[in-house]
């Protein structure tokens, strides 16, 4: 397996969508190849950092306008 093949299979590798033979072959390559290991490791960190990131609190003026818009809509329903 070449480094290029590893890159092409990364999406399925991260999503656990690889057949076991291919996964084993990738893992064997990763043991031998430091560059691919760094690429895989830092790409996984990239995914995790975004995935785990908390959204910032809603700005107060934005929240206030959202509440007003909802209130207007919901009031119409209540009537």
């Amino acid at each position: 397996m070449r480094c290029r093949d590893i890159i092409q299979e990364l999406a399925n590798y991260f999503d656990e969508a690889l057949d076991p033979v291919l996964r084993l072959s990738i893992e064997e390559h990763l043991v031998k190849c430091k560059d691919c290991r760094v690429v895989v490791d830092t790409t996984k960190q990239t995914i995790d950092i975004f995935c785990n990131s908390e959204p910032a609190p809603l700005p107060e003026d934005t929240r206030s306008r959202l509440r007003q818009a909802l209130e207007k809509k919901l009031r119409r329903v209540r009537v």
């Binding site: 999406a11 399925n12 790409t43 975004f50 818009a69």
Partner: protein, 232 residues
């Protein structure tokens, strides 16, 4: 050692440009699994109550998801005003069409799809010449990683929450919309590949291809902040 690989000429630049690093410091690589904390257990109960006219239940759902939906619309539109409008419209439409929500998907997934549509309309209005999302994206050399450098200590520990949020917002904003939006849905909103494809009217292979490129591009962009020795 890279020399042990059967590498192609195309990969040579990426294999040559790297500092020395200790393999013993690399963590074992685990497959990426999506956490399930996005949807809380009581969501179906709240949705059922909201469908039967319980306005407080709907407001609870809004309060639960407003920050995530605002981040989503901001990341897609890259414009504060458009993001706010798209978020408002998404919640209003969700309320309006709640009776049509049959529970075949998670409520949050359904809400995300509404918000994506609203945000895309804003984006297309402001940038009519933007690449159409369903247009084929040529495979480029950008899938070949450059700057193969280890990142060192955990970025989450090296940067404060606000600083890290700013970095993430900056780098994702630098991606072209077809990549940014696929990454947003798949890796931030945690939709499945199939749900992402359906939400964007793309094929599953197209989602996978764009996701791979988005992940590699983001990795490359984050490299300038996180590589070993930077801000350490």
């Amino acid at each position: 050692m890279a020399g042990a690989c059967n590498m192609s000429d195309l990969l040579l630049p990426f294999l040559m440009a790297k500092p020395s690093m200790s393999s013993s410091k690399l963590n074992p690589i685990q497959p990426h699994t999506l956490p399930s904390q996005v949807v809380q257990d009581d969501e179906p109960i709240l949705v059922a109550a909201a469908k039967s006219g319980d306005i407080v239940a709907f407001e609870t759902l809004v309060g639960r998801y407003e920050r995530k939906i605002f981040r989503l619309t901001q990341n897609i539109t890259q414009n504060r005003e458009d993001a706010e409008d798209a978020m408002q419209e998404a919640f209003l439409k969700a309320f309006e069409h709640l009776s049509g929500f049959e529970g075949n998907s998670r409520f949050y997934t359904w809400l995300v799809r509404i918000a994506v549509n609203q945000a895309l309309m804003k984006l297309r209005r402001r940038r009519p010449n933007v690449v159409s999302l369903d247009e084929p994206v040529e495979s480029g050399e950008d899938t070949i990683p450059r700057d193969v450098e280890d990142w060192g200590p955990s970025p989450e520990e090296r940067f404060g929450q606000t600083e890290l949020s700013g970095i993430l917002s900056t780098v994702i904003g630098e991606l072209d919309p077809p990549f940014r939006i696929v990454f947003q849905l798949r890796d931030i909103e945690e939709l499945s590949t199939e749900e992402t494809a359906e939400a964007l009217g793309l094929s599953v292979p197209a989602v996978k291809s764009r996701l791979l490129r988005a992940r590699l591009k983001l990795r490359q962009k984050l490299n300038r902040y996180f590589r070993r020795g930077e801000n350490a």
